[in-house]
Symmetry: C2
Subunit: 557 residues, 2 copies
Amino acid sequence: MTWTESGPLRRFTDELRIAHEVDVVVVGSGAAGFSAALSALREGAEVLLVEKMSTLGGTTIKSSCWAWYPNHAGVRVEGHVDEKDDALRYMARLSRPETYDPTSPTLGLPAWRYELLSTFYDHAAEAAEALEAAGVHQTSLPDFPDYYSFLPENRTPRGRTLKPAAPDGQPAGADEFIRQAAASVERQGGRILTDHAVRGVLVSGDAVVGVVAEHRGEEILVRARRGVVFGSGGFAQNTERRGDHLAAPILGTCAAPGNTGDFLDIAEALGSPLRNMTYPWMTLMVLEQALSGDPAVKSLFHPPGDSMLFVNGEGDRTLNEKAPYNEMAQMLQRWDVREATYPDLFQFMVWDQGCQDLHANERPANPIRPAREPAPHVVGGATLDELAERLAERVEQLRPRVPRLRMGPDFAERLKASVARFNAGAREGRDPDFHRGETPIEQAFNALFTGGTRDERNPVLYPLDERGPFYATIIVPAALDTKGGPQINPRAQVVRFDGMPIRGLYGAGNCVASPAGKSYWAAGATIGPAVTFGYIAGASAARAPVVEIEPAAAVPA
Amino acid sequence: MTWTESGPLRRFTDELRIAHEVDVVVVGSGAAGFSAALSALREGAEVLLVEKMSTLGGTTIKSSCWAWYPNHAGVRVEGHVDEKDDALRYMARLSRPETYDPTSPTLGLPAWRYELLSTFYDHAAEAAEALEAAGVHQTSLPDFPDYYSFLPENRTPRGRTLKPAAPDGQPAGADEFIRQAAASVERQGGRILTDHAVRGVLVSGDAVVGVVAEHRGEEILVRARRGVVFGSGGFAQNTERRGDHLAAPILGTCAAPGNTGDFLDIAEALGSPLRNMTYPWMTLMVLEQALSGDPAVKSLFHPPGDSMLFVNGEGDRTLNEKAPYNEMAQMLQRWDVREATYPDLFQFMVWDQGCQDLHANERPANPIRPAREPAPHVVGGATLDELAERLAERVEQLRPRVPRLRMGPDFAERLKASVARFNAGAREGRDPDFHRGETPIEQAFNALFTGGTRDERNPVLYPLDERGPFYATIIVPAALDTKGGPQINPRAQVVRFDGMPIRGLYGAGNCVASPAGKSYWAAGATIGPAVTFGYIAGASAARAPVVEIEPAAAVPA
């Protein structure tokens, strides 16, 4: 196929004014993009990294930047090996539960998904080591469990996740990861340009030979001699695309504000089909924060609190508030077939004064704020009846922006019954309805976010003091980012409708189709594959022969 | 954009051997295809209809061929009007429950979806009348309710569905509809070719100018002067596509065996994005029939029986067995987030001798077969314990083909408890757990399929005789067909990634993106839009100017 100029495709001609020419252009400055840039530099390529926004880091810098790498050096201790067969079974079991078959050569997965999982396993540890060698440090979380650590398929239930580290080895955050990565790129002679939004690609014959970027209203053309690697993130900030592709509703996202899925337009114009578009990396958010449009807005990974519960719009408790975020969001998306509604979509997180006193802190994603700080998303009431009244007022205020937000007529009564039932269990240290606190990951998250333990039998449970006062906020399902896009092959080349790779085009991270399906294997299941496929993409592009420009004679007049 | 030869795209040149040349080529002989062919003929076009299989009728002929047309002549009686605003609210409310907003100009829908619903309303009655004028007869079902007739948005809850009729007006089946349509096409000078599988399109410049068909191993090229209308059905018979696109598992389909999604490959190669790929038109099937590969296999629209219940693999009753099929399939797809399983995916339909005697008949989709007939999908037992043993044997036999099929260790005990609880309600004429029989559509379906009524208080409920014997079969979610594909505009033109129509290319029915989302408004919600958009597509193509071939000079050597 020979692509010609249209929409996001621009035919390369000698008349074009080329602003930059390098071996490898990397689009995006999150984990995938930086991993690709560092990998290409390591192979000796001349590299330019372009970022749409004015600051670096993409969605990665908004996260904790934990990264999941099967069989990395830190789990190969005391003779333990995270065997490939085991790791693949765990990933496949969760990625495709409906077709998973341990006796099948592809474990019941379509071939391309199996191949990408296999490639991920084969290169994850090596990708993490390459980061370290480039001066981007990570450190172990040896005791942190996978999200489904209890499944029989999981033979390495703890320790596959790494987190960023300072040069001295001390644990650090995402900002440090990005700072180290950017410094390493520049130290190795790579260039980084912010405020360059890639809207299209330069094509010649059947190959991609550069990018078309917009920089402060001006068009900047960049020739990539060996390849373009997209690590430009998903489409979570594009509400039209969300509506077109997602299988269930989300009401917000904490993806980087630039994640509008620009690469999907390019892929569609190139005839590269989109896959795994159905489910995003899911999480929870406070409704008002989800609506705010604040680019710094964060995900509510783990609702803190012991004397705290969620009820739906009817006032009924319907779920385990401490389940991992990707799973909890799916519970909020429960579809009531009979009524054709999503009855659990809006959750009312309710806590008492004891919980407020113990668990309030300044962590950005914590809805329980210290008393001295304004908390416009929190509603208070001396009694549960008053709390319900205040919530009803809040719902009316928000309704114009959220037409489906509703409270049932018996909300206050049912809330009181829900609290009474929750309290009866909590007094025994148990949650007979939803088994809150019974899995390793719930205890591990609690340990990270708790303000203290009041009941050693089950640290995540404590009865609400029925004398009041009470607090509440509204919680909705949201996306960290999406994970669908064009398909890549094990060399991280973007493939066309017929499975053939597009010369000069590579992808990694949330802008391409993830083999994870709707699953979220563990903390860092987003960034581990992003780093790994970025590493593969950068090396593949750097090692590729120069993609020559087709002679102009072949271009029709 | 100028497409050049690749995969399913073939460039038109003077050297090609063109087997047929007509104004309009129609691909597919179901409701969409025949409606398009008749509409193009009515406009005076020369028409060729090509069908992949050796018999006519596609998935339509496997259905009851009921068709849902808002505001058709039959509902405009005694001064009633099925107002556009009302009909759109009903459709939008169900198609996009998460964003539905009665105060929004597009009712909260993305613009393209709203426009297609609006177009459907505007032309549905006219499309039904055009069929009648062409000699394809339909008759009213004035009392038959929509599937969500009880919603406040539904102001015309009954009568929007028509069914086929013989020339004398008597009700008839799908075979009669297809017979009349084919006869009308031929009477008007249109030609019909079976065994012609369209694998690609002829392109010239930026337009589609014909099709590439395979006929008994030979390639047949057809020039379409004014347009090609695809009415070629969905991708339900393509398990790879199902795995790539569907949001939840199905285990079988009763779509026509040719429905492998060939048009998706063509659309992707043309750079036309796919939409609404997530949810098919859902139904139920008997597991062994779903696995059989029998091209004649039918959907289980409505499980007959009063002393009959469904239990899941644990032996628990979890749903209303009489809910409309699209909804019941979604219940079977319930995702257990905690265990990462689909616990209700396999349902065990259990009935007693009284039910067997009353409700057995020869209707193809009825799992309750007359005693004289072999029923290899049915397992029997003198007691519930014995029934459970026989089912366990059956499960073991099927496991190699269905690795996820399982029965819990307490199945027999929990089945007995489920029967006891069901019976306690049924003796009172009630189903306190799942409200079986309480909506108009359940009673209407029961009236169609019942062998008789034993309890006038609730004809769909009756206690099982605990003395036995008992019967059972395994039921799974399935698809009538899918409803995703490239997007069309209100003229039924297939659009590109940039929203511009592709000259010469039209689509209708299950091969293009439905604006219905995951909803199924009523009986015939599949075929009503297929007829309507087929009607629009045929007329649009017939009225279009001739799509000229680009001069050969512009084609590169």
